[in-house]
Symmetry: C2
Amino acid sequence: MKYQFSRKMQNVKASAIREIFKALADKEIISFAGGNPAADAFPVDEIIKASEELLEDNPISVLQYGLTEGDPFFLKKAAAFINRKGGIIKEGDQIITTTGSQQIMDLASKVLCNEGDVVVVEEPSFLGSLNSFKENGCQLRGVPYKDGEIDLAALELALSSQPKPKFMYLIPNFQNPMGTTMSLDTRKKVLALAKQYEVLILEDDPYGELRFEGEDIPSLKQLDEDGLVLYGASFSKIMAPGMRVACAIANHELIEKMVVAKQGADVHTNLWAQKVIARLLDSMDMDAHLEKLRKIYKEKCELMLNEMEKHFSDQVTYTSPEGGMFIWVHLPSHVDTDAFVKEALKRKVAVVPGAAFLTDDSQECHAFRMNFSTPSREDIIKGVKILGDMTQTF
Amino acid sequence: MKYQFSRKMQNVKASAIREIFKALADKEIISFAGGNPAADAFPVDEIIKASEELLEDNPISVLQYGLTEGDPFFLKKAAAFINRKGGIIKEGDQIITTTGSQQIMDLASKVLCNEGDVVVVEEPSFLGSLNSFKENGCQLRGVPYKDGEIDLAALELALSSQPKPKFMYLIPNFQNPMGTTMSLDTRKKVLALAKQYEVLILEDDPYGELRFEGEDIPSLKQLDEDGLVLYGASFSKIMAPGMRVACAIANHELIEKMVVAKQGADVHTNLWAQKVIARLLDSMDMDAHLEKLRKIYKEKCELMLNEMEKHFSDQVTYTSPEGGMFIWVHLPSHVDTDAFVKEALKRKVAVVPGAAFLTDDSQECHAFRMNFSTPSREDIIKGVKILGDMTQTF
């Protein structure tokens, strides 16, 4: 039998970074390539306790089919947590549990886009989301960065060009892969453009709770008064990603369609994970927990930046994140980034080449992404030295 | 903001059965409408024990990101279990964990179909799958039943008509909603047609382990020697549906594409659920467990059929399942099925009108589906009596 695959899957190439991730099986490799939360940041004891209590108290409620929109107690606790500073949940809004944030991208594309419809994305942006849009038949229209933020003139052009885009995908806090944060002023201008051109915003905020520097900036969702924003919050970074639990919040009209789409996608999200997280939100000192996480991430980020400062060539520039998990490194334009990344892998350090985060990964890109949340302190020191030495000779 | 939804979502109507499921909130209602496994069939103690051991032994492995194709130990145990009678897994085949069987429908449509492509389905067929295909932009081409099996002449016509279908969706064992089982002879003929017209088969087998009468019949996957079958097995019916774990098995070329699609859909399936099920498959006496389940289902099915025999009008006919969870009831053609179902709901008994399982639910259908796995013995006796009285007067 010769299989014939859909056009949309042909648009998703087996990416160069797969090779990198395969190489990570070599335990000697220091990986700055992943995006895993720090393992010591998981509330392990609390999860074990909540799980045991839950399964003793009412196992059938964990094991039987659940509601597509989510477990009611989880939805209540999650909504209260996400909205604890106010302004995220507006009148007429609704919340849905999703199987990780990734499913928000899948469901949003499904309910909003016909095959060939345009989605506007920051360039670079999170590879997983770009692939999700492509796999739902969307065409990507990239908007470049300028001075560390999305280029507003280019964004306006992208929003006003034909065919009209169905939505724009933004990660305002500690962007993946850039590590940068959108300023309040830019957020307001982006919202004004969204309103003017009537283009929905999918605001992906998986790292929002991981701010370890500076002051919180209101989310696009908080600033929005016109139902323009579909907001995604994840429990992967503040609880545990293996549980696969996130939430989307938007006007009920949009969420109700996503519920219908989710019914056809996976019926509902694993109940154990929803109910364990609900118990943690109900009983844990979340402020203390988040404070602990932020301290871990701050220390790792500062260590990595300090080591980079020590060892990297002056010709190399990089972002200085106020939160999240990533640093974006710009090499001088004479450096062949692919060759650099391959040589680094030979020397047992893995990073992700920047082109992987572009709408078309055959474009030239003189940057790579480094992750500071997963590696140990020792590996950060050792790995950055290796990369630093390379920047002096490449 | 005025939201504009995709064409494919407009094809999925808020269905009549939602109203029925809403009505089920009324605790006085006896529901024959659901499709929940019997709660006393869940291996509760074993799940609690496996979960506690797992979280004590290696919590980080449960909480950190996992592989998209599935947890390696789970895949190994699941493959061995599904293939324990031999012949399911062929040379060159691969296995993927999915977030319930429902995700198999979603991923298969995504990797195989462009918007507007045709999927051939039995008519009636499982509503959730039909919706999943529609939500991925597929057009459904229904093939009716004849003498309790799919009509082979109509199937051949459906496979040979233009546009050529991308795949056919079949539930050979204890079909939902019919409760009927495809004979060996028909299976062989279906495979021959698939080969002749080069149309893939998506074989959905969530109930295969729940045979309580008669002899096992080889699955289409076992009979296939040409890579024609994508086989789906679920742990929802034999472990617990709230865990959301199923597996698809097919040629690696197909599964690899599904892995790419799953990466964009939900990254991976909840690890706790995969690892708990792996431990059960590794340590439980699965034969004894399945024997227990089959006994529960057999007793409930026999009770329901006996009560129907006692109380239903002779003009009403119904299927006699050899396994699974459903009975399909044909009313005389003078009866208005919608009115019958509504009146039943007034009398506090819920069933699902047959039209819900058609490719177009505005078609006339003089049937309804009854579930025997969820209700208690008392409710079966009481509910069937109420329906029976109605069949005498309608």
